[in-house]
């Protein structure tokens, strides 16, 4: 670092952009790019892709903790060198995949991964790794810690990761604030704020660009105000929907509270276009406590929903499609969750979410 301070001018970046992926790919994949014929899954956690050329490649998928120390990554590299062919990739859900051309390498690779603590699975009709965000570990506005929620839940869901016994794939997401960086999921575990921001009026004028903060509020509940002789902002708490949108541009408007930051669980999000069009997840339950390090109340609800889905859904139905078939009345009945006025949409496009027909479920 001394050399940096010594330099008058730092190095000018070489704006290389997105790196070339082909240099890192398994040679069998390079040779058969765009020429694959079909795939199957010999067992949970393993994919076999067959090329029109007749060549095959086996993929072994394993779960990781996503937030990895260099020692873990090097361990995975060792496994890749010793048991696979030195090529890996990651899935969008932070699973690692090892590709081997020789089927004989599959079982030893699985054995080594399992022995090293990396569960093999996440394929087909399984519960894959939970896509998650940064949380208390690194985010500047988090209401909870995604890594901890995910670790607790994946410990419980481990069995459903290493086998393919669900009706269809289950994609779970977590998000540490209502921005929902974790994205849509069959089940989404998201922070839900319950109280308006607590404003530190001494800091607002210096820290926040007040007109931008006023403009950020989705319900126009924020207005400029003089407080204790200083320019600040005030919130009309009757209008405030506690979304937290003001907090990132104005940290003195603290939205989190040890007790007031809660967890809501949402169901039925789906990004694939298979069968039904992509959907957003919908509210199942709110106001669960934000209870580290194991979030038992959250885990209990997730468990209930997963068990009901597993028992009742038809093969290939995703959670949202299952609920669409059985109806929301039955979903709430089967899960024992309450349906409240807060489940009624009040946001943009609300009317399109209502039932304007005589179709009802008993």
């Amino acid at each position: 670092m001394n050399e940096v301070t010594a330099k008058a001018k730092p190095r000018t970046a070489d704006e290389t952009g997105v790196p070339d992926h082909i240099q890192y790919m398994h040679p069998v994949m390079v040779a058969n790019m765009g020429n694959w014929d079909y795939h199957d899954r010999p067992r949970a956690g393993v994919l076999r892709h067959v090329s029109k050329s007749g060549q095959e490649i086996f993929t072994v998928r394993a779960g990781t903790q996503r937030q990895m120390d260099v020692f873990t990554i090097r361990k995975l590299c060792d496994i890749g060198d010793n048991f696979a062919d030195g090529h890996v990739r990651f899935t969008t859900r932070s699973n690692i995949e090892f590709m081997v051309a020789d089927e004989a390498k599959v079982e030893p690779l699985i054995a080594e991964l399992t022995a090293s603590g990396f569960p093999v699975g996440g394929t087909g009709a399984s519960v894959s790794m939970i896509s998650h965000t940064q949380g208390w570990l690194h985010c500047d506005i988090p209401g909870t810690d995604a890594s901890g929620v995910v670790k607790s839940l994946m410990d419980y869901l481990h069995k459903e990761f290493i086998q393919e016994k669900m009706p269809n794939r289950v994609r779970i997401t977590t998000s540490c604030c209502q921005i929902n960086c974790g994205g849509q999921g069959d089940i989404a575990i998201n922070v839900q704020y319950t109280k308006p921001p607590k404003i530190n009026h001494d800091l607002v004028a210096n820290v926040c660009e007040r007109p931008a903060v006023v403009a950020r509020c989705p319900v126009a509940a924020i207005r400029p105000a003089m407080v204790n002789g200083k320019p600040s902002l005030e919130v009309d708490e009757k209008k405030c929907i506690c979304c937290g949108a003001c907090y990132p541009p104005c940290p003195p408007m603290q939205i989190n509270g040890a007790e007031s930051t809660k967890i809501a669980i949402w169901v039925g999000g789906k990004h694939s276009n298979a069968r039904s069009k992509p959907t957003f997840h919908k509210l199942a339950v709110a106001n669960l406590p934000n209870n580290p390090p194991h979030w038992p109340e959250v885990a209990a609800v997730v468990r209930t929903i997963i068990e009901a889905y597993k028992k009742d859904a038809k093969h290939w139905e995703r959670v949202g499609e299952w609920i669409e078939r059985i109806g929301w009345s039955r979903f709430f009945e089967m899960t024992g969750l309450a349906f409240t006025k807060h489940h009624l949409e009040t946001w943009t496009g609300a009317r399109k979410t209502m039932n304007s027909s005589s179709h009802i479920h008993f």
């Binding site: 940096v4 730092p10 795939h39 990781t64 937030q67 990895m68 990739r89 899935t91 410990d155």
Partner: protein
């Protein structure tokens, strides 16, 4: 943990007790806490004290149920984005991790790596950072988490010399991601990696020097299964599709039916077709009404050996997907039902359309408005006019139901439609 609380163990230096985090070390799933402790306990490494204080601060968060990081401004020479600055608000107690910035580094398309390149990335991060890396963030970045302000530049320099570049942050073009695609998937309908690289690399200026009204994301999926969540999570989603017929291998269909049964095939394939386009013949072959098929991928997902996408492949483009902020969730809108992606000119046309959309966004969006919100505000017809795309029935679930629209130029618009249709049919029209 309270100040002054002493550790019972005689640990080297001052090791923070982490009673809350310790409970996340059991269980079958790999533990990030155990990983952080490995960093803490690597006494010969420069990052060990930083990992110790990071663990201390994180345990403090678990106890207080609050986060203790704040943002700021950190960047590397010549760039305005790509670093997520984090300064600790409890640095008095956890000084070694008081600066804990993240370098967002763009991944290769499809997230392919060799173990060799991963080791090199680890070596750099061991030298300059905390040793903590996430593969990958929700936008696709490799997140090198935990860097002091001072080490940011040398860390970036080494990544950059290795052929890696910073991704996006702030109001800018963001890092993109693409599915495994044609590298290993028979369902792929275009070269996702090429589209990903060539498109993003054309607009690096918009990424490295943030000047857009808000974020703008591209994502590339090779088929309707949309493995990278492009429609929900990107402003510009490129989704593979095809125009001709699904390819059927009837022998494999028969084998499939023989293996799983007729009822199961009907229940899981025929009945689940969203447009009732499939029927099972009496001889256990499939009949597909391709004019009614919407390329949803379901039957192909179930019968991977018997069915596959057609030969006339390409992609659809959907614009305007995003999550809640500010006016609510939006899925992308189908704006280009089909483009070919085979020749150099095809890929260039994709990039050109990306440029048109980014320019439209830069010129017309309000501050902190996503392009989907801009489209909602001005109406899809105005957006289409601005980006030079004609209205198409594939853009809608159904035509408008409200009569509140001025239609006195309807005949002229209809004439354009018929002219376009005649063109597509290869006819010459009177006006030419």
């Amino acid at each position: 943990m309270k100040d002054g609380e002493t550790t019972e163990k005689k640990a080297p230096a001052k090791q923070h007790p982490t009673p809350m985090l310790d409970q996340l070390e059991d269980g079958p799933w790999p533990s990030f806490v155990t990983g952080l402790k490995r960093l803490r306990d690597a006494n010969d490494k420069p990052f060990a004290p930083m990992a110790n204080d990071l663990l201390g601060q994180l345990n403090h968060s678990y106890e207080e149920r609050l986060g203790f990081w704040k943002g700021g401004t950190v960047s590397v020479f010549g760039y305005g984005g790509g670093i997520i600055p984090r300064f600790s608000e409890v640095a008095d107690r956890f000084p070694e991790s008081k600066e804990f910035h993240t370098l967002r580094v763009m991944p290769p398309p499809g997230f392919h790596y060799t173990t060799d390149i991963l080791r090199k990335l680890c070596d750099i991060w061991e030298k300059h950072g905390s040793g903590l890396i996430a593969f990958h963030g929700q936008s696709g970045d490799i997140m090198f988490q935990g860097c002091t302000s001072e080490a940011t530049q040398p860390a970036f320099d080494e990544f950059n010399k290795l052929g890696f570049d910073l991704g996006g942050a702030g109001p800018s073009l963001r890092t993109s991601m693409s599915c495994v695609g044609q590298a290993r998937c028979e369902q792929s309908c275009y070269d996702e990696g090429r589209a990903h690289r060539s498109t993003i690399n054309r607009f690096l200026d918009e990424m490295h020097r943030p000047a857009l009204p808000y974020k703008f994301k591209f994502k590339f999926s090779g088929c309707g299964n949309d493995c990278v969540n492009a429609i929900q999570r990107s402003d510009f989603a490129v989704i593979g599709t095809w125009r001709d017929d699904i390819k059927i291998n009837q022998d494999e269909v028969k084998k499939h039916v023989a293996r799983v049964g007729r009822k199961y095939t009907i229940d899981t394939v025929v009945s689940m077709c969203p447009t009732r386009a499939i029927s099972l013949n009496d001889d256990d072959t499939l009949e597909i009404d391709n004019k009614s098929c919407v390329r949803c991928m379901h039957c192909i997902n179930v019968m991977t050996k018997a069915l596959s996408p057609g030969d006339d492949k390409g992609a659809s483009i959907l614009i305007g997907g995003k999550r809640s902020l500010k006016t609510g969730d939006m899925l992308g809108i189908m704006v280009k039902p089909f483009i070919k992606l085979e020749t150099d000119e095809d890929f260039e046309a994709l990039e050109d359309f990306g440029e048109t959309c980014i320019e439209f966004f830069a010129d017309n969006a309000l501050e902190h408005e996503r392009i989907g919100e801009t489209i909602d505000r001005i109406g899809l017809p105005a957006f289409l006019a601005a980006v030079g795309v004609e209205a198409d029935p594939n853009m809608v679930n159904h035509p408008r139901t409200s009569s509140f629209v001025r239609t006195d130029d309807f005949d002229e618009e209809a004439a354009k439609w018929f002219e376009r249709k005649a063109h597509e049919a290869g006819l010459t029209v009177a006006s030419e």
